[in-house]
Every structure is written in structure tokens, then in C-alpha cells.
Amino acid sequence: MVQLVRERIDAKGLRERIARPEDGAVVLFEGTVRNHSGGRTVKHLEYHAYESMALQQLEEVREEALRTHAIRDIGIIHRLGTVHPGECSMAIVAVASHRAAAFEACRFAVDRIKSAVPIWKKEFYENGAVWVEGDTMGL
């Protein structure tokens, strides 16, 4: 399950949809919007995406995580539009029999998303806003 949403991310709902009684470990990662960045107070962020491509790429990240880690399932939700400090911009839930795979797959997915999925954030301050640009060296 991969999703782009414009409303608040329901991380608990994602966990409930993904986890089953045969799983022994659930790892949930939430990226949350920080109220400061580079010494400036952040009022909010705006997330934009190349949506059709972002969904395909998220699905590829999901499939690669399933292929390369001993997990049973992994789900990803990324939020788009305006997100305020303290709110969740991305949630990933990985479930597995054992914790090592769940931790590693979750981390793998975050790293891949941050380097390969066409989503961008703009930080809004008291005065002004800038597009944050990541590092694509790893791609």
C-alpha cells in the first residue's frame, strides 16, 4: 500500500491495515515537520509532487524493500500540500517476523524516498520561503 494524501496522515490506521497476527515486529517511521530549520522559525511546509511518477516510484521503493528484506509487508503514506510543524509528512510501517528486517526495511524505504521519489518541500518562514533541495548523488 502506497498513498499520497492531502489530509492528516493516520499513522495508526496504516499500522492497523498493515500488521497481522503472524507478525512479531512492527516498525513505524514518521517524518514530522520541525518548527525550525537552519536557525529560522518554520511556519509551515508545502509539499509538491510529480504525482503520477511519485506513486510509481513509491511502489518501486515498496517492492524493492519487500524483495531485499525479510519483511511480510510495508506501507507508505506521503502527505502533499500544506503541513504544519508537529504534523506528520510521511509515515512508513514495516512488519516482519523479526525486528532486524523491519527496522532495516523501514530505514531503507525512508532513504530511498528521500533520494528518488519526485516530491519537494518548500519551507515558509515569517518572511520568505525557499524550496529545499535534496542530494541526488545517491540516485
Binding site: 509532487a49 524516498i113 516530491i119 533541495e133 535534496g134
Partner: protein, 81 residues
């Protein structure tokens, strides 16, 4: 042939548009499409090295050939998550 070209995030700010329609000659590559647009939007050129290219929602390289009806996208370094 007709192409649809998409600009995202900072590149849309630079060009002042998120989308242009482009008439291109056959057998052109994505790199050539970029050169054409960099001529029209000179502020694009300095970003060339960091821009990622996509063709029909898939990552592509500058030497990927384009076809009639393609959707070409120029992507600045991503920052989701």
C-alpha cells in the same frame, strides 16, 4: 512532433510555468529538449547538472530519445520525506 514538458518546484519558479507544449523534430533526445528550453529560459542552464530527467513518469537520461506525445519532466533534487 508534440511534447509536453513539465517543470517542478524551483524549476517552475525559475521558468514561471509548470508546463509547456513543445514542437520538436523527430529523433530528438531529452538533452536536446532541455537545450531548447534553456535557450528559452536562460535561468535553467545553471541547474543543468542537478536536474533529473523523466520521460512518461520514469527516470530517463539526457540521451533518452523522445517520441511524439511524450511527457518530459525536469526535476530538481527531490526533498520529500
Amino acid at each position: 512532433m508534440a511534447l509536453r514538458v513539465l517543470f517542478f518546484a524551483s524549476l517552475a519558479d525559475i521558468t514561471g510555468t509548470s508546463e509547456v507544449e513543445l514542437e520538436a523534430s523527430p529523433n530528438v533526445t531529452i538533452g536536446a529538449v532541455f537545450a531548447t528550453l534553456a535557450a528559452r529560459f536562460p535561468l535553467l542552464e545553471p541547474h543543468r547538472k542537478s536536474i533529473l530527467f523523466a520521460r512518461n513518469s520514469r527516470y530517463a537520461t539526457p540521451d533518452t530519445p523522445v517520441q511524439d506525445g511524450d511527457e518530459i519532466a525536469f526535476l530538481p533534487p527531490v526533498s520529500g520525506g
